[in-house]
Each structure stands twice: as structure tokens, then as C-alpha cells.
């Protein structure tokens, strides 16, 4: 087993760097706000935040074409927003409002915006890997050169659908890119304690005849570079990629989890490698003025403030909508 570092990004212009930063900071501010709104009991049910994992969502999304597809997990706010979904509509979904992006039918664990290529968040571990393979199959058959990009956690590498999807995608040479966000924990348990290999995704790539790519998931440019390389290969008909992005979840698994199981000092060590803080420093090294960075931060905050207001002020869904949109005719009739 020899995992290799994913291809490095090409030389990036300042506009690309700024765009990557703006994407990350929006996700960060949004997720922090979502957390605040949980504490105010405005978000019901559960929620799984992507705090700390923004570089992966931003880097991989920015490298996509508008007609590429994203398939996300229940930790999917980042990935949906990174495709350009309206933050107000996503926030309203978390609050169960009629102006939510799914009109209250999906909630936090299922956010998506198909009009932006965000094909939904899937809350059963592993399920969306074969679905993404199917979208890629459709692109291949129709000759559209679209790519299906599927994000999942380290825990997903231990469920059967992972194996089935990777094998099928490889055998059929599908334009699918599978991105494992290894944040070191499957829910509450260290992934290393329940996985036979040290790199849960990368060490298994060989089993599917794929190259073994590892990328620093806290480095947005590294993610962007790996994405560009993988998408180019996929569009050229050279088959799928499996990329393991090493990262860290700043919070617990879900709203209910204070993450007390983490060893002392681990969080602090990873916070020192925070994808946003470190990228601010890099932007400055590349000559981006602090004022410009502050302006990006302020813009993200303003956007999330507005999203919060739209969500809080959004109407509640009409109870009658319970029985709409089961079927393509808009209804739910099962009998005449």
C-alpha cells in the first residue's frame, strides 16, 4: 500500500484564490450561525456541521462545471452552498420554513438544489455512492462530459455500498469522483480503531484498480488542484478517482455530541491548521491586502445575516403540503 499525494494545483491567479476564500468564509459563517440557531432552538431535529472541513467543499466545488453534479451526505450544508445554493433558502430549510430550499420536506440532512447541480444530501451511510455512479453513467451514455462528484466520510469506507459503487464505477470507467473526507472519527469512534488500513479510502483504491490519492483537506488549493486533475481525467473518459482528503471536524458528530472523546490537545492542534486561518495567511503572502480579506469576511457575514432574517421571517409550510410531490404529478394518490 503506497498512498500518493494528489496532483498539485496549477499556478493560481489572485481571482481564483479570492474566490476560494470567499467560498470558504461563507460556509464558515453559515455553519457557525446554524449552530447559534440550534442553541436558540430555532433549528429542530439534528444537524451535522461541516466546521473545519470547508476547504474540501470549496476547493472541489470551485473546480466543477456548472452542470456537474454534487452528491453529499447529511453533513451537506457546505457542499450545497459551495455550488451556489441560496443561503437564505438553505437556512430556511434548517428552520423548517416554506421558503426553505426543499420547502421543509427535507431538512438539514437532505439539503440540495438540483438547479445548481447539488443533487441532494443523503443520510444513509454509503447510499449516494452508487447513485453518483449512476449519474456518471448517464453522463457517459449521453456523452455530456459531466462529472458526478460524491462526498462522504471516513466511516462510509466500511459499508458495503462503498465497495459496490467503487467497483462498478471502475469497471464501467465512469466519470465519477469519490471524495472521502477523513475527519478521523466515524460518528463518536476513532476511524483507526474500526478500520483495517491506516488510510480508509486511499489504501483501498488499489482494490478497484484506482490510483491512491491523498490530499490535505485543510488546504483549499490542494483540494482544488486534486479536483481539477480528477475531473479532467473523468471528462476524458479515463474513469473514476478516489481521493482521501485529510481533515478534522471542529465540533461533534451532530448536535447531540460534545465530542468529549477526543484526546486532549487534538482539537487545538487542528485549530492551528484551520483551513481558513491558514489561507488568510497565504492570501497575504500572495499580496492580498488585509482590508480585502476583511471585506470578504464582512460580505459573508452580511449574506448570512440576511439569510438568517429570511429564514426567521419565512412562512411556515402549509399542512396541506404534506401530501404533495410524492409523485411526479405533484400529488400522493395511491388509489382512485
Amino acid at each position: 500500500m503506497s498512498a500518493t499525494v494528489a496532483p498539485a494545483p496549477p499556478a493560481l491567479d489572485v481571482e481564483t484564490r479570492e474566490a476560494l476564500y470567499r467560498s470558504m468564509i461563507l460556509l464558515r459563517v453559515f455553519e457557525k450561525r446554524a449552530h447559534d440557531l440550534f442553541l436558540q432552538n430555532l433549528v429542530k431535529g439534528t444537524s451535522h456541521l461541516g466546521l473545519g472541513q470547508e476547504a474540501i467543499a470549496a476547493g472541489f466545488a470551485h473546480a466543477m462545471r456548472p452542470d456537474d453534479w454534487t452528491f453529499a451526505t447529511y453533513r451537506g450544508h457546505n457542499h450545497t452552498l459551495a455550488r451556489g445554493a441560496d443561503p437564505g433558502a438553505v437556512m430556511a430549510e434548517l428552520l423548517g420554513r416554506a421558503n426553505g430550499v426543499l420547502h421543509g420536506k427535507g431538512g438539514s440532512m437532505h439539503v440540495g438544489d438540483a438547479s445548481k447541480g447539488a443533487m441532494g444530501s443523503y443520510a444513509i451511510i454509503g447510499a449516494h455512492l452508487p447513485v453518483a455512479a449512476g449519474a456518471a453513467w448517464s453522463a457517459k451514455l449521453r456523452g455530456t462530459e459531466q462529472v458526478a462528484v460524491c462526498f462522504f466520510g471516513d466511516g462510509t469506507t466500511n459499508i458495503g455500498a462503498f465497495h459496490e459503487a467503487l467497483n462498478l464505477a471502475s469497471v464501467w470507467k465512469l466519470p465519477a469522483v469519490f471524495v472521502c473526507e477523513n475527519n478521523l472519527y466515524m460518528e463518536y469512534t476513532p476511524i483507526a480503531s474500526v478500520t483495517a488500513v491506516p488510510n480508509p479510502a486511499a489504501d483501498r483504491a488499489a482494490a478497484y484498480g484506482l490510483e491512491s490519492w491523498i490530499v490535505d483537506g485543510n488546504d483549499v488549493e490542494a483540494c482544488y488542484g486534486a479536483a481539477l486533475a480528477a475531473y479532467e481525467r473523468a471528462r476524458a473518459g479515463r474513469g473514476p478517482a478516489l481521493i482521501e482528503a485529510k481533515t478534522y471536524r471542529h465540533g461533534g458528530h451532530s448536535r447531540a455530541d460534545p465530542a468529549a472523546y477526543r484526546p486532549k490537545g487534538e482539537l487545538e492542534a487542528w485549530l492551528a491548521r484551520d483551513p481558513i486561518e491558514t489561507y488568510r495567511a497565504r492570501l497575504r503572502e500572495h499580496g492580498v491586502a488585509q482590508e480585502a480579506i476583511d471585506a470578504f469576511d464582512a460580505a459573508a457575514l452580511a449574506l448570512v445575516d440576511r439569510a438568517t432574517e429570511e429564514a426567521k421571517n419565512g412562512p411556515l409550510p402549509a399542512p396541506e403540503s404534506v401530501t404533495t410531490n410524492v409523485w411526479a404529478d405533484g400529488g400522493s394518490a395511491w388509489r382512485n
Binding site: L102, K105, D113, G120, H128, V131, A133
Partner: protein
């Protein structure tokens, strides 16, 4: 009219739609080069080529997941799950993903696909290759569920299922694959959600599905000799359900029997009996009687399997006994 076997009618229905719509593709284990283990896809690879007819690994989650992803993005896949028992290994994709994603997205995506699967007993394959599981599928909101009993309906309902914008679970009665029947020439489509009165009769109404339909018809001939004139309704489509035809038949005869291959508890007939009880109770002369496989796994030995599934003899004798009360 051409005489076709039930199994050839499956391929004929798929072929008719593949000819009509280039977005129709088919995938499954052994379905391309081998023509299917039950030979229900013979000739499709030769006629439509490897870009539209795909052999898969033994990966039921990947088969149905791929079908779903393709359906969400513009294709109309037909996916074969060889034995309906195997739906259990990909039930997450069926029940959580295919069935619910349209609703959870409030209509952002539609999932026009068909899952075709060999269902039910009669081949002595034992408990893991013989189950009738139409009631599993019927219990999940978001799935359409059909189970034709004749070659004509197989072809016509396959066509309708492929054209339908929603996911359809298409149960093929394994025991009927070698049976033959007339199939109309030319384009043939039988709408989903329409029950079919296949034998008129005034004394009682017998609701049957799939492999139980020909048995109910044979039982009706026996009953006729005993002076009981049984109406036979081929339910054909569980979701959507043709409640109108079923309720009006029940009201007219006042006596209703179901003949179900699925095991007793929560079988499809239970829902229909409940519907009849709620909506035409006062038209009934006696309680609805359900004739089902008992609530057991299906055994393998021929005498045991025959004892478990509703037989012509059991159908006829149960109806005769109940009608004599």
C-alpha cells in the same frame, strides 16, 4: 395477435420502449450476453447494443443506485433484480432513496425507473429464492407496484411502467414465465392502476394477483360445476390501486375473497379488506375472506411448497365452504 410466453413478453415490452425512446437502458446481472437467468431479456443486447444493455456485477445496491442516479439525470433505466428476495440486500436504495428522494426534495428531482424482478414460488427454490414480496414494496410511500399475470399485460404494463415518471416495482411471476398467451400486435400499452375483471360472476368476487390469477380462474371453473358463479378480478396494480373497480365489484356480489401468494401478515389483501370494510361494509353479506400463504418462510420440497402456496384446490374448497355458510 401473436402467441408469446410470459418471459418473452417481458423482453417484448422492454424492446418496444427501447425502440421508442433512446433514453431507455437496461442493466442487471446476466441480462445482456446471457439474456437473463430467466431469459426475460433475450435479444436486447443484439438489437440495442452494449451502450444500452449492461451486465453488472453481483451488486444489487450498485444496480439500483446506478439506476436511480441515471433516472435523476435524464435516462429511463430498467434495472433487473434477479430474484425479488434480493431486494432485501438493496432495500435501502429502494425504500430510502428511490422512494423518498422526490418527496424530500419537494419535486426538485424525478426518478423514472423500473425495477423488474422475478417474484414468488413454484420452482422449488426454497425460502430465499421463492418469496412473494409485493407487500413489502406496497408498504413504502413513493413506489408504484404492479404484478401482471398474462403475457399481454406483461408487455403492456412494462411499457406503461417505463413511460411512467415515477419509480415502478415490476413483479414478474416466476412460476408463470413458461406460460403463453396472446399479445396484441403493434404498440401495446396497458395503463397502471387499472384492475381487470377477467371472469364475470355474480355470486362472489375473487381478487387475485400475479401467479394466483390463473389459479383463481381454474378454481372458478370448479366452483361453476358446484353451482357457484365466481367473478375473478386480476388486481394487477397494487399502487396505484383501482379501488373503484374493486369496491364496485365487492358491492355488487356482496362476497369477497382475496387470493394472495404473500405470507399472511400485512399481505396486500389486508389493505384491500380494510378498504372494503370501511367503504362498502353494508353491501357485504359476509366478512372478506383472505386465502394466503401461511405466515411461514416458503419451504423447498415440492409437496411442502405446494401445501404452502394457495392451490386451486384450496382456493376452490375455501370459497365453497364459506359460500355454504
Amino acid at each position: 395477435m401473436a402467441q408469446l410466453t410470459y418471459r418473452d413478453a417481458v423482453a417484448a415490452g422492454v424492446a418496444q420502449e427501447m425502440e421508442r425512446d433512446p433514453n431507455v437502458v437496461i442493466l442487471g446481472e446476466d441480462i445482456a450476453a446471457a439474456g437473463g437467468v430467466f431469459k426475460t431479456t433475450v435479444g436486447l443486447l443484439e438489437r440495442f447494443g452494449p451502450d444500452r444493455v449492461w451486465d453488472t456485477p453481483i451488486s444489487e445496491q450498485a444496480i439500483l443506485g446506478a439506476a436511480m442516479g441515471a433516472a435523476m439525470t435524464g435516462l429511463r433505466p430498467v434495472a433487473e433484480i434477479m430474484f425479488s428476495d434480493f431486494l432485501a440486500v438493496c432495500w435501502d436504495i429502494v425504500a430510502n432513496q428511490i422512494a423518498k428522494t422526490r418527496y424530500m426534495s419537494d419535486g426538485q428531482v424525478t426518478i423514472p425507473l423500473v425495477v423488474k424482478t422475478g417474484n414468488g414460488g413454484g420452482l422449488r427454490f426454497g425460502a430465499q429464492h421463492s418469496q412473494a414480496v409485493e407487500n413489502w414494496a406496497m408498504a413504502i410511500p413513493g413506489l408504484k407496484v404492479v404484478a401482471p399475470s398474462t403475457p399481454a399485460d406483461v408487455k403492456g404494463m412494462m411499457a406503461a411502467a417505463i413511460r411512467d415518471p415515477d419509480p415502478v416495482i415490476f413483479f414478474e411471476a416466476k412460476g408463470l414465465y413458461p406460460t403463453t398467451g396472446e399479445v396484441p400486435d403493434g404498440e401495446h400499452v396497458v395503463p397502471l392502476g387499472a384492475a381487470n375483471v377477467v371472469r364475470d360472476g355474480k355470486d362472489c368476487t375473487v381478487l387475485a394477483l400475479g401467479a394466483m390469477v390463473p389459479r383463481a380462474l381454474d378454481a372458478a371453473e370448479r366452483l361453476a360445476r358446484e353451482g357457484i358463479d365466481a367473478q375473478i378480478v386480476d388486481v394487477r396494480s397494487l399502487v396505484p390501486l383501482d379501488a373503484r373497480t374493486i369496491l364496485s365489484a365487492a358491492s355488487a356480489s356482496g362476497r369477497v375473497f382475496t387470493v394472495e401468494e404473500n405470507p399472511r401478515l400485512c399481505g396486500w389483501g389486508a389493505e384491500i379488506a380494510s378498504l372494503i370494510g370501511e367503504e362498502c361494509f353494508y353491501d357485504l353479506d359476509a366478512p372478506v375472506v383472505r386465502i394466503t400463504t401461511p405466515h411461514v418462510p416458503l419451504p423447498s420440497a415440492d409437496v411442502l411448497e405446494d401445501a404452502a402456496r394457495p392451490s386451486v384446490e384450496r382456493i376452490a374448497s375455501t370459497i365453497a365452504r364459506e359460500m355454504a355458510r
